[in-house]
Symmetry: C2
DNA sequence: CGTCGGTTGTTTAACGCTCACATACCCTCC
DNA sequence: GGAGGGTATGTGAGCGTTAAACAACCGACG
C-alpha cells in the first residue's frame, strides 16, 4: 500500500453527501434518491474508490471468504470447481493444507488463524481423521462448515460420494465379466475412503461365495501401485482381475503387469477409482468410477451460504452417487 | 460469529496490564518484562484469545495473505508448493481464477477486490496476456507482485522456466536418436508458452537443415492431442518422431498412434513437456521435460516477502532450467 | 393547519487493534 | 545528586467502515 487509497469520506466530499449515504449506495440500500445515487456512483468511479474490506470485516464480522482446509496437500483436483462456484456467489477462496506429522495440532492452529480472519465458512476436505461435531463446532467458532468427500462424525454436515455404491458397481461389473479370482491393492488405511472401499471389496467377494484373492495395502500413489502390483504378481498370478484403490494405483499396477509380460485386460483386468483426466487415455483406457466434484462443490457451498443466511438451516448430509465408467481395461 | 470473542482488552483486564502491553506480547516486541509476558500469555491461553485480523489489517494495511491469480482454472499443479511455502512463512494463500470470455475485465475486477482485501502480494499465474508493467503496478496498487511461469512484459518481476532451453534439450535428444522427420502438435497459440515452444521446434529443425514435418495447433488437452494426432496420421505417416506441446497432448497422441496400429517408440517416438505425475507410468513411459514448481514457488514468494520487507528490493527476473527426462517413449 | 407516515439525509458511536507519544522507573556516571 | 539513557508500561487517537438514532423534508389527511 504505497499510495493512499480514497475512502468513503473522500467520495462523500466529492459527491457532496454524507459518508453514510455513500455507504448506502455501495450496499445497495433502497432508501437513496436516484439522482443522489448516480452522483455518488460517479464520484466512486472518478476516484476509483473500492471499499476497504478490513474495515468492513471489523464491524460486520464477515469477510466474504470461505476457507478450504485440505488434509491431502497434493489432491487439488476438486479445487477448481470450488473456486468457480464460490466466485459466482461473490466469495473468495482461501486454501490451506494440513501437514501430516501432527494433523490435529496443525488443524487447530489453522482454525484459530482462520477464525481470526473472520472467515465466513469452512470446507473441510479429505479429512483423514473423524472429528466429532462438538469439537468442530468449537473450532469453527460459530462459522458454518461442511465436510467434503470423507466420512464425517455423527451430526457433521457433509457432502459425500457413495464409496460403497461406487465400489459395488465396480465389483458387479467384474462379476458380470465372469471374474472369479479378484486381487486388490487398497489405499492406505489411514484414509477412511480407503478402508470403506476395501471393506466393500472383501464383503462382496464373501457374499458372492468367492474366495478372496490376494490383497495388499498401498498409498494411493502411482509408484506404490506399481511396487505393490509387482509384489502381488510375484506371490500369486492366479487372479484374473485387480481392483485398485484409486486411478493412480491402477496406473502403476498396469505398468507392473506389462513389465512381467502379462497383458491388460486379456490376462488381468484392472479397475481404478476416481476417473482422473488421464484415465480415459491410458493404454488400455481404464475402467473406473467417476465422482462429480462440481456437484459436490455446488451443494457444499450452497449449504454454507444458506446457513450463513439463516442459521436455522438444517444440517445436510448428502450423498452423491458416483458413476461407473466402463473402458477397455476390464 | 455467534459467540462473542475475547478482545485485547479482556486479556489486558485479566492480566492486570494495559491493552498496549498485550499488543506488545502478541507482536513479540522486546520491551516486555519476562514475568509480565508470562502473565499475559497465561491470560491469552485462559481466554483462548486470538487477535482479530480484520482490526489488524485495518490499521497496518497488511493481511498476511498472498493472492494467487490463475489464468488457467484447471492447471492447479503448481498450487501445493505455493501453499506450502507461504504457510511456512506465515502467509495464507487466497486463490482466484480468471475466466476466459473477458479476461481483462475479470482481471481488473479481481485486482480491485484483492486490493480492497489488503492482500500483501500477488502471484500471477499462467497469464495468457502480456500486461505491461505500468498497468500491473496500477492494478496492484503498490502491493508487490510476481509473474510465474509465463512470459512477462519488460520490467515485470518473474520466475520463469526456460521454455527455450527445455525444448532445445528435447529436440537435441531427438536429433541424437537419429530422427530426421519430426512432427509437432503444439499448444494453443493464445498461450505464450505454446508459441515459444513451437518457435523453438521449428527453428531447430531449420537450423539442423531438416525439412519440418507436419504440425498442427492443439489445446494442451488429452482429447485435443488425440484428435490432432489422428489428423496428422491421416495426412502423412512419414514422420518418426512427434513433439507434443505438453504431456497431456502426448497422452492423447500416444493413444491415437496405437489405434492406427503403429507403436511407440518403434514406429514413432513421442515426447511431451511438464513431467506430470503420470508421465513415468504411461505405457511406454514418456520422455519429457521436468519443471521444478517447488523452486519456482520458493523464489517467487521469497521475492514478494523481500519486497514487502524492503520496497527497494530490485525486481527479479529468474529463469529456472527445466530438466530433460528421457524415458522409453523416444 | 397541525399531525402523521414515509422518504432521504446526517450525526454519533462503535468494531478491535496499532502507533506515537507520554510517563514512570532504574541504573550509571561525572 | 542531578543529568542522561535505557527499559517497562500506560494513554489516547485513529484506521475506514456499518449500525442505530436522529433530524429534515414532503405530501396527505382529518
Amino acid at each position: 500500500m504505497s499510495v493512499k487509497q480514497p475512502t468513503l469520506h473522500d467520495v462523500a466530499r466529492l459527491a457532496g453527501v454524507s459518508h453514510q449515504t455513500v455507504s448506502r449506495v455501495i450496499n445497495s440500500s433502497p432508501n437513496v434518491a436516484d439522482d443522489t445515487r448516480k452522483r455518488v456512483q460517479d464520484s466512486i468511479n472518478a476516484l476509483h474508490y473500492r471499499p476497504n474490506q478490513a474495515a468492513r470485516s471489523l464491524i460486520t464480522g464477515r469477510s466474504q471468504t470461505l476457507q478450504v482446509i485440505d488434509f491431502d496437500a497434493y489432491y487439488v483436483t476438486p479445487l477448481p470447481p470450488i473456486i468457480s462456484i464460490a466466485s459466482e456467489k461473490g466469495y473468495k477462496i482461501s486454501v490451506s493444507t494440513v501437514k501430516l506429522p501432527d494433523s490435529v495440532h496443525e488443524f487447530r492452529k489453522l482454525m484459530d488463524d482462520s477464525t481470526a480472519r473472520q472467515v465466513d465458512g469452512f470446507l473441510l476436505f479429505a479429512m483423514d481423521l473423524t472429528v466429532p461435531k462438538e469439537i468442530l463446532d468449537q473450532l469453527c467458532r460459530g462459522a458454518p462448515y461442511v465436510q467434503l468427500g470423507s466420512s464425517p462424525a455423527d451430526g457433521v454436515p457433509a457432502v459425500l460420494f457413495d464409496q460403497v455404491g461406487g465400489m459395488r458397481q465396480l465389483m458387479n461389473h467384474l462379476f458380470n465379466m465372469g471374474h472369479k479370482r479378484i486381487a486388490e491393492i487398497s489405499g492406505p488405511f489411514t484414509k477412511v475412503d480407503a478402508r470403506q472401499r476395501h471393506a466393500v471389496v472383501q464383503d462382496m467377494l464373501h457374499d458372492a461365495g468367492l474366495e478372496p484373492g490376494p490383497w495388499v495395502e498401498s498409498d494411493f500413489q502411482i509408484l506404490g501401485g506399481y511396487e505393490k502390483a509387482l509384489e502381488l504378481l510375484s506371490i500369486d498370478r492366479s487372479f484374473t482381475a485387480l481392483v485398485c484403490g484409486n486411478d493412480q494405483a491402477a496406473v502403476g499396477a498396469m505398468r507392473a503387469i506389462n513389465e512381467v509380460g502379462l497383458r491388460v485386460p486379456d490376462d488381468i483386468a484392472v479397475v481404478g477409482f476416481d476417473d482422473e483426466h488421464f484415465a480415459a487415455y491410458l493404454n488400455p483406457p481404464l475402467t473406473t468410477v467417476r465422482q462429480d466434484f462440481l456437484e459436490q462443490a455446488r451443494r457444499g457451498i450452497g449449504y454454507i451460504l444458506a446457513k450463513l443466511e439463516d442459521p436455522e438451516t438444517p444440517m445436510i448430509r448428502e450423498v452423491i452417487c458416483p458413476e461407473l465408467v466402463v473402458r477397455k481395461s476390464s
